[in-house]
């Protein structure tokens, strides 16, 4: 499989404190990679660096563009080009859906925004796409004109996912996509995410502190501690036979299925 994203030697510090240090990994097209670790381990900083939202102090992030080969996000692309990628070929699912949605416009407008930003100027086609995507994330299309404020947390998260996927991105970044939700709602959302990533052949980087999320969604995983990767490999292998003491501690602290 071909590489879609490649990070080499990433480092970022805030003041004196290093948030991540010497982080390298590859992500293949259609692959889901989980980044696990406790809070403060640098997961979110890493996600921000590889998604073009935070310039690292050192290292490179290269993305396989559709037509122009591998491009380094910060050296080869302008801010305009990064923002363009972010609203076309990429998605970003925030932990709190309120941060990824426009709460003061309807569900339909939320889903349609990216299409309009790309120049779609046909109201009917935008409605059709929005309706289609609401059903694909298992929401009632009748609610297309409702405000996200009237939606439950799980519904808001589905809406945020639909809003991201409407432009057929190849890569989606997710920051703790299920952690704000009730357990039963979490399970259904994880199910949806798994079937969507498989059906669409999406590559994804999922930051989570929850090993169950990693097991369910990801083919491969990285374990982070103190800003460094301490272990990486196939998800089942890492979880069933952890090598690093920290990973062993993480795995043993969760009830085994």
């Amino acid at each position: 499989m071909s590489v879609i994203l490649e990070a080499r030697g990433l480092a970022k510090r805030f003041g004196e404190r290093p948030a991540i240090e010497d982080v390298s990994f590859e992500l293949h097209a259609g692959e889901v990679l989980a980044v696990v670790g406790e809070s403060g381990s640098g997961k979110t900083t890493l996600l921000n660096c590889v998604s073009g939202r935070l310039r690292p102090d050192a290292g490179t992030v290269r993305f396989m563009t559709r037509h122009e080969g591998l491009k380094e996000l910060y050296a080869d692309l302008s801010e305009a080009e990064r923002r363009f990628l972010a609203r076309t070929d990429w998605g970003y699912v925030h932990q709190r859906p309120e941060e990824g949605l426009r709460m003061n416009v309807s569900a339909g407008a939320n889903v349609g925004e990216r299409l309009m930003a790309l120049g779609e100027r046909h109201y009917g086609r935008i409605r059709t796409a929005a309706t289609d995507w609401l059903s694909r994330v298992e929401m009632d299309p009748e609610r297309i004109d409702d405000s996200p404020r009237t939606f439950s947390g799980g519904m808001r998260q589905r809406l945020q996912i639909a809003r991201n996927l409407v432009t057929d991105p190849r890569l989606v970044f997710m920051d703790e996509p299920t952690s704000g939700l009730d357990v039963s709602v979490q399970a259904r959302l994880l199910d949806l995410l798994r079937s969507l990533t498989r059906a669409l052949g999406l590559a994804a980087i999922v930051v989570t502190h929850d090993l169950a999320v990693a097991r369910l969604l990801a083919q491969r995983m990285l374990v982070m501690k103190g800003g460094r990767i301490v272990e990486q490999g196939l998800t089942d292998q890492v979880l069933d036979d952890p090598q690093h003491p920290y990973t062993q501690l993480l795995v043993s602290s969760v009830l085994q299925p």
Binding site: F14, G15, E16, R17
Partner: protein, 353 residues
């Protein structure tokens, strides 16, 4: 048949005549002289000079007379006049540590070099109407030695000796600050620009903003390090001479707030500062300005920007009384066309509903 009203010209002329009549009031009552306004409504004159950003007590008094005592209108008149004056040059920075002081108080030290000088203040008056003022008063005289004090060090400079207060070194090369009377405000605005804006800002607006920082909308833990009121010399360097020459004196009120600061990743714990400066005797204004100046430094000091007083676009874009008063009152202008368009829309929507 209704015919559109012609005669805007006549209406305006009549309005001007009425205005002049109302401003003058009963002609049997003697007319106010500028000298009376300057002497007896001095604080109003000071405010007009400060927010009008023109140090000219005569013009400020004239503006107050023309505006029938409406401070915001008088400030507008002074600013519009000021806009027609060419900028001939810039003075040297004022040295407020060499001010001749009429008043100087510090809330942070009980006693200090130079001492506390209460001076003329309403602070410790009982706010009871003084009916003796109903009659023309006899001469009011104060003891001679209470009138003015010599220059004394600034309180903040005393703390500075210990390194407990942040220092503000001019940036490398000491670049000229942007001149807000010549250049538009752009965001993000640096501190020198913000201070210019606050110095011209409406006193009521600044007061409310400063007050909000004391009620939980931005915690800055202020102490009034020093408030000083007095006269400072103004110097210019004429090109042909090349050294500073004193061209006069201006009355000023300066406030230095000292704020608690826990320190950050790059700064040790120390006191930070907020600064306020006004022409004449404008203590309320300069204190509020210092509070808001400090609140606006949130980003620089690594504080979370959460409250209106910390948001520079919010504060600086709404602080000018000319802009605010003009735009609020422009709602008096006819909006027939827009209203007509909206009327048609509402009707259309009601028909289709």
């Amino acid at each position: 048949m209704y015919v559109a009203v012609k005669g805007g010209e006549r209406a305006i002329r009549n309005s001007h005549e009425l205005l002049a009549e109302v401003r003058r009031g009963d002609p049997a009552v003697p007319e106010l002289s500028l000298e009376q306004i300057k002497q007896q409504l001095k604080l109003a004159v000071d405010r007009v000079m400060t927010e009008g950003s023109l140090y000219d007590p005569d013009l400020a008094a004239l503006a107050l007379k023309q505006a029938a005592g409406d401070a915001v209108e008088a400030i507008f008149l002074v600013r519009a006049f000021r806009a027609t004056l060419p900028r001939l040059g810039y003075t040297e920075p004022l040295d407020t540590s060499r001010m001749r002081l009429w008043r100087r108080v510090s809330a942070t030290f009980k006693d200090l070099p130079g001492g506390q000088v209460l001076g003329p203040t309403y602070d410790y008056t009982q706010r009871l109407l003084d009916f003796s003022l109903l009659e023309p008063a006899s001469k009011a005289a104060a003891p001679e030695d209470e009138r003015a004090a010599d220059a004394m060090p600034r309180v903040v400079d005393l703390l500075d000796g210990e390194g407990l207060v942040e220092r503000h070194e001019p940036p490398a090369g000491d670049p000229d600050p942007l001149d807000l009377t010549r250049e538009p405000l752009r965001f993000p605005a640096e501190r020198s620009v913000r201070l210019q804006n606050l110095a011209r800002a409406d006193e009521g607006f600044l007061l409310a903003m400063g007050y909000s920082t004391q009620r939980g909308y931005a915690h800055t833990h202020p102490f009034a390090g020093e408030i000083r009121h007095g006269a400072a010399e103004v110097e210019v360097i004429p090109e042909e001479l090349g050294f500073p020459v004193v061209i006069g004196e201006v009355a000023l009120t300066e406030c230095q707030m000292v704020n608690q600061f826990a320190g950050s990743k790059t700064e040790p714990p120390q006191f930070t500062r907020g600064y306020g400066l006004a022409f004449g005797h404008c203590e309320r204004k300069s204190m509020a300005m210092a509070l808001v100046d400090r609140a606006l430094r949130a980003t620089e000091l690594g504080e979370e920007v959460e409250s209106p007083a910390q948001m520079q676009e919010f504060v600086l874009s709404h602080s000018d009384s000319l802009e605010a008063s003009g735009f609020v009152q422009h709602l008096k202008l006819p909006h027939y066309v827009d209203f007509q368009a909206e009327l048609e829309l509402v009707r259309k929507m009601r028909r289709s509903a």
